[in-house]
């Protein structure tokens, strides 16, 4: 029994599988929430790092590069433990779920920053020259001219990282976030049948990532390659 859910272990594997599906789907909900929250953090933080790394002053771009390298080259688990245990030692106590999403977002911001940069560099130079000739501020040029043209070029790359984040969510179970894999393991621990719940987790993950890739492809197809239209 888990959270009031019970399962059927006496009528064969199919009945067992069906009986644990609802609770696995509850775990799936947590997985999806953590993925989306982590991805959102990665998108926002990545954009900030992309801007800082491209700053004309080395006093800004070098530290930004160093920090993103650090995020990228240390394991997610280390970052997660650091946020969860070390910060707690210093009085910063964050809920497990929030910690997990932050860790995912921080790690992946190093990757999304590179994606943003690639997109930004792919916008023809003439665009920023025209913006300069028309006297736009650097901020307006970035938000209204460069970024809307950069993002549609790199949607598939962002999509890949969204799928990667989803597949990394089970790591959060080590800081007590009960997502789908964690749920399956508890079921296995209690029933001594690991094969059915773990197989189901694998299957659900496969469906999840296929759906997610489909959505990304759809967004990619729908966004005009010339840029997000500003009416």
């Amino acid at each position: 029994m888990l959270f009031g859910f019970t399962w059927d272990t006496s009528h064969g594997e199919l009945a067992f599988a069906i009986s644990i599906l609802p609770i696995l789907l509850m775990g799936l909900l947590v997985t999806i929430e953590a993925s989306i929250a982590g991805f959102a953090v990665a998108m926002v933080l990545g954009l900030i790092f992309a801007v800082l790394k491209g700053a004309p002053s080395r006093f800004i771009s070098w530290p930004a590069t160093f920090i993103t390298e650090f995020f990228r080259d240390t394991p997610l688990l280390v970052q997660l433990f650091f946020l969860y245990y070390v910060l707690a030692d210093h009085g910063v106590i964050l809920p497990a779920f929030l910690t997990g999403c932050l860790a995912l977002g921080v790690q992946y911001s190093a990757y999304t920053a590179e994606v943003y940069r690639a997109g930004i560099e792919a916008v023809p130079k003439g665009q920023s020259e025209a913006a300069r000739a028309l006297d736009f501020s650097p901020l307006h040029t970035f938000t209204h001219i460069i970024l809307p043209q950069a993002i549609p070029r790199v949607v598939p790359a962002f999509g890949n990282y969204l799928v990667s984040i989803m597949k990394d969510v089970p790591v959060l179970s080590v800081v007590t976030v009960l997502e789908m894999l964690g749920v399956a393991k508890i079921i296995g621990d209690q029933t001594f049948d690991y094969m059915v719940p773990l197989t189901m987790v694998g299957g659900i993950y496969l469906i999840l990532t296929i759906v997610c890739s489909g959505v990304v492809r759809y967004v990619d197809m729908k966004l005009p390659k010339t840029g997000i239209p500003l009416k």
């Binding site: 003439g126 665009q127 025209a130 006297d135 736009f136 307006h140 043209q149 010339t226 840029g227 239209p229």
Partner: protein
């Protein structure tokens, strides 16, 4: 004698050791239509790009409308210009690019109104009125709501001209405005530039390979060679009776090619 609106004094532009402008002296009077011709690499586009503040100068001084462009007077001495000064100076100039450089994610209307609304802080309705007048002038009233990709190259360039004019510059710079166009589309763009030259007291600086057009619209032709003005004069003088051998060679090559 009127003060020149553009004045280059011993302007040098270098990329590494490659000299693009070689102590260039060059004046343009207010309202004057000047065409710059010359072989590729002679520095003619660079003159426009420097004026638009897209490229810095290596040395020398440029005055635009009575004020130094790349310098600023502070405590009686000239210092490199601040971004605020460059911004102020840029508002005097408008530029039309070889590759149009329209914003592909904005409608024609928004391409033209974006800068007046966001830079000049014009009310939206006023910016739209201004844009509609300009679209009428360039003959594209029907296309206001289309995106650049739905237009021909000639139409895109006419939008580019309208977009620059919407900022009401004193000086218009045309950087090979028809070089990227299919031959049958060149005429419509030249017509717009031609009527602009005829009807307005705008100062115009044009880099082009369209010699017949240059002859029609220009008050003066400057032949650039290796970063300097090799020869200049009225279209009559340059096209019918060039003094320099180098000018003759160039015109012969262009007019026969």
């Amino acid at each position: 004698m009127t003060e020149p609106i553009i004045k280059f004094e011993k302007v040098v532009k270098k990329y590494g050791s490659h000299v693009v402008l070689d102590e260039l002296d060059f004046d343009v009077k207010p309202g004057e239509k000047v065409t710059i011709i010359g072989p590729s690499g002679s520095g003619k586009s660079t003159v426009l790009r420097i004026l638009m503040t897209l490229e810095e100068i290596s040395s020398g001084i440029i005055h635009v409308d009575g004020e130094p462009l790349w310098h600023e007077e502070k405590n009686g001495s000239l210092k490199p210009a601040s971004e605020a000064h460059l911004k102020k100076m840029r508002s005097k100039l408008g530029m039309v690019f070889q590759q149009f450089n329209l914003f592909p994610h904005m409608s024609v209307m928004r391409n033209i109104t974006e800068a007046p609304v966001n830079v000049l802080k014009l009310p939206k309705a006023e910016a739209r009125d201004r844009a509609e007048q300009l679209l009428k002038m360039v003959g594209l009233t029907e296309h206001a709501h289309k995106f650049p990709s739905q237009l021909s190259g000639g139409q895109q360039q006419r939008v580019g001209i309208a977009r620059a004019l919407a900022m009401r510059p004193k000086i218009m710079l045309f950087d090979e405005p028809t070089s990227a166009l299919d031959p049958e589309l060149v005429g419509e763009v030249l017509n717009v530039i031609g009527s602009l030259a005829a009807e307005h007291d705008l100062t115009m600086l044009l880099v082009t390979h369209e010699m017949r057009f240059a002859r029609e619209v220009s008050d003066r032709i400057c032949f650039f060679d290796r970063g300097r003005i090799r020869e200049q004069g009225t279209p009559e003088e340059i096209f019918t009776n060039p003094k320099e051998e180098r000018t003759r060679e160039f015109l012969k090559a262009v007019l026969e090619g």
